[in-house]
């Protein structure tokens, strides 16, 4: 198994979507590590390295975050706004909003808050996303 220093934090409370995404990444032979947070509070704790997430050998700081908007405990937009107020490492981390909403207001709001990209969840097909992620991983020397 190739070890990569490219970790992705997936913030997603729907376990079906998480599995579909993991499968697409595996199929695209992305060597990255995928960590999953199932609500907004867990996401910010992960990024801050709070509690168990302080062990960065087990929970490496992510090079990319995939963020659903509809989350328990803290919404995706709140998490996004929060990241952009933190230190450089968190603030500059690329974030792809990956959500079922195609509302213009959500899209524009996400970009205003600093989302790098916004993808409406495809009907179970994450191949295109996997290809893009692979390219991002390559830039960081993941290959």
């Amino acid at each position: 198994m190739t070890l990569s220093n490219f970790t992705i934090l997936l913030v997603e409370d729907d376990s079906n979507d998480a599995v579909l995404l993991q499968r697409a990444f595996k199929k695209a032979e992305i060597s990255t590590m995928l960590q999953v947070a199932t609500d907004g509070e867990e996401a910010t704790a992960y990024l801050k390295g709070e509690g168990k997430f302080g062990d960065r050998s087990q929970f490496p700081f992510p090079s990319l975050m995939l963020l659903d908007l509809k989350l328990p405990r803290k919404s995706g937009l709140e998490v996004l706004a929060w990241t952009r107020e933190q230190n450089d490492e968190i603030k500059n981390m690329p974030v792809i909003v990956l959500t079922s909403s195609r509302q213009t207001t959500d899209i524009d709001e996400a970009y205003s808050l600093g989302a790098n990209s916004y993808m409406a969840k495809p009907e179970g097909n994450f191949e295109g996303l996997a290809e893009m992620v692979k390219s991002l991983e390559r830039a960081r020397g993941g290959e």
């Binding site: 450089d88 603030k91 213009t104 899209i107 524009d108 993808m119 409406a120 893009m132 390219s135 991002l136």
Partner: protein
Amino acid sequence: MNTPTPTILLVEDDANDVLLLQRALRKSNLKSHMQVASDGELATSYLCGEGDFADRATYPLPSLVVLDLKLPRKSGLEVLEWIRQQKRPLNLLPVVILTSSRQARDIDKAYELGANFYHVKPGEFDRLLDIVKSLDTYWFFLNETPHLPK
């Protein structure tokens, strides 16, 4: 209702790469048209609609900028910084870096200045072509873009 074909503004000074790309892309089934600016000043003039570029029928405002870092007259990072300083909605224009540098400091700086993504230019032309095609698919088919005027 017909949606107009989106435009990619490629900011790249390597004339050879540009020529090869344009030729190859003409044969591909792309969702976009490509315009090219060969240095950083031309890029910002294009986006401002200065001079010849005021003719938006010939030079449409792009929906995506693909930006090399090493450019004459104004560097890629300066162009990126300029874009992000403009008024809404121009400041929200998606900008991806496509450059040969793999240096962590270039990558970090690009994200800090607001690049949407950072891609490394591969050595072989075929792979460069693949990247441009996949950028077209991702940004015009998969990604939801912010709402910019045409």
